[in-house]
């Protein structure tokens, strides 16, 4: 399980992504890129600023769900733990979606 903090919107109209959602978005981009994603692709795909991307990538590496796979250029891939997490997440997302809940 990935420990997460829940982001709370400060205004009624604002809808912020939770830390968990950002983790999932980053990992989804990596998965979509055949498990070999460059930081630029992740940055655009997960809609993050450079600073936040660097911070989240470090956090995900610490959690052991992604790893750097490139030698010259930085390329990120999911670890086995990351793949298992995404499989579980897809199940949960599908379950919640069946009831009409978004996660």
């Amino acid at each position: 399980m990935i420990p997460v903090k829940q982001a709370e919107p400060t205004k009624a109209t604002a809808k912020y992504r939770s830390q968990f959602r950002i983790y999932v978005d980053i990992m989804s981009v990596i998965q979509r890129e055949n498990n070999q994603a460059k930081p630029t692709r992740i940055l655009y795909g997960a809609n993050l600023s450079h600073d936040r991307l660097v911070r989240y990538l470090e956090e995900l590496k610490t959690l052991g769900v992604i790893q750097e796979t490139g030698t010259d250029d930085k390329i990120y891939g999911l670890t086995q733990k990351g793949i298992e997490f995404m499989n579980n997440f897809r199940r949960v997302e599908s379950f919640a979606s069946a009831f009409g809940f978004k996660i």
């Binding site: 968990f20 069946a98 009831f99």
Partner: protein
């Protein structure tokens, strides 16, 4: 039939709990609590019916029926109320005291008023799940929509049962069918990827 419903409700609750542990999404926690309550209500009602059938029906010993139904009604009232709350306020924090149920002082037989309350809540949930199905058109959404429609129909039959006892088995069949649809959804979600 209540025991099958109980097992399916607990399986749904377990899946919702897994989802909550993974995502910390509160709506999944509400879903978990709702189905635990639904399962508990069905179990108590089923056990009460069993006690009456095995021990005392011939001597007019019907008090457990009323106790079982009252507990089942309150459990369902809170459960469906919680689900309605989850649909209305999808991500907001829940104020605990608002959900605390008053301890029942009197036990009551199945009656039109309690059934109407449950039908009202279930129709709302069925409508929400129907809207969800109309948007995403997935089989899982259809199964959940079908389940809540079936549970609504079951309570309509329970309502009619208060004046026409012949509808009692139909109500149980509709209720069981609803839970079987939820089971089908659960099995689909957990198919190996």
């Amino acid at each position: 039939m209540e025991f099958i419903g109980f097992l399916i409700a607990i399986a749904i609750a377990n899946q919702a709990l897994k989802g909550y542990k993974l995502s910390k999404e509160k709506t999944l926690l509400y879903l978990n609590v709702s189905f635990v309550l639904i399962g508990a209500g069905l179990l108590v009602d089923g056990l009460a019916s069993l006690i009456v059938l095995l021990a005392g029906a011939r001597r007019g010993f019907l008090y457990p029926f009323a106790v079982g139904y009252s507990i089942n009604f309150l459990a369902q009232l809170i459960a469906y109320g919680l689900l309605v709350y989850a649909y209305i306020h999808q991500a907001r924090a829940l104020s605990g005291p608002a959900l605390m149920a008053a301890t029942p002082l009197l036990f009551f037989e199945r009656n039109a008023v309690t059934e109407l309350i449950l039908i009202f809540l279930l129709v709302y949930i069925a409508t929400q799940t129907g809207i969800n199905y109309s948007i995403n058109k997935s089989t899982n959404s259809m199964l959940v929509f079908g389940a809540f429609v079936s549970l609504s129909i079951a309570h309509v039959f329970f309502l009619i049962f208060t004046v026409a006892p012949i509808f009692f088995p139909f109500a149980h069949i509709a209720q069981l069918f609803g839970f079987l649809l939820l089971l089908a959804m659960l099995l689909r979600v957990n198919q190996p990827t």
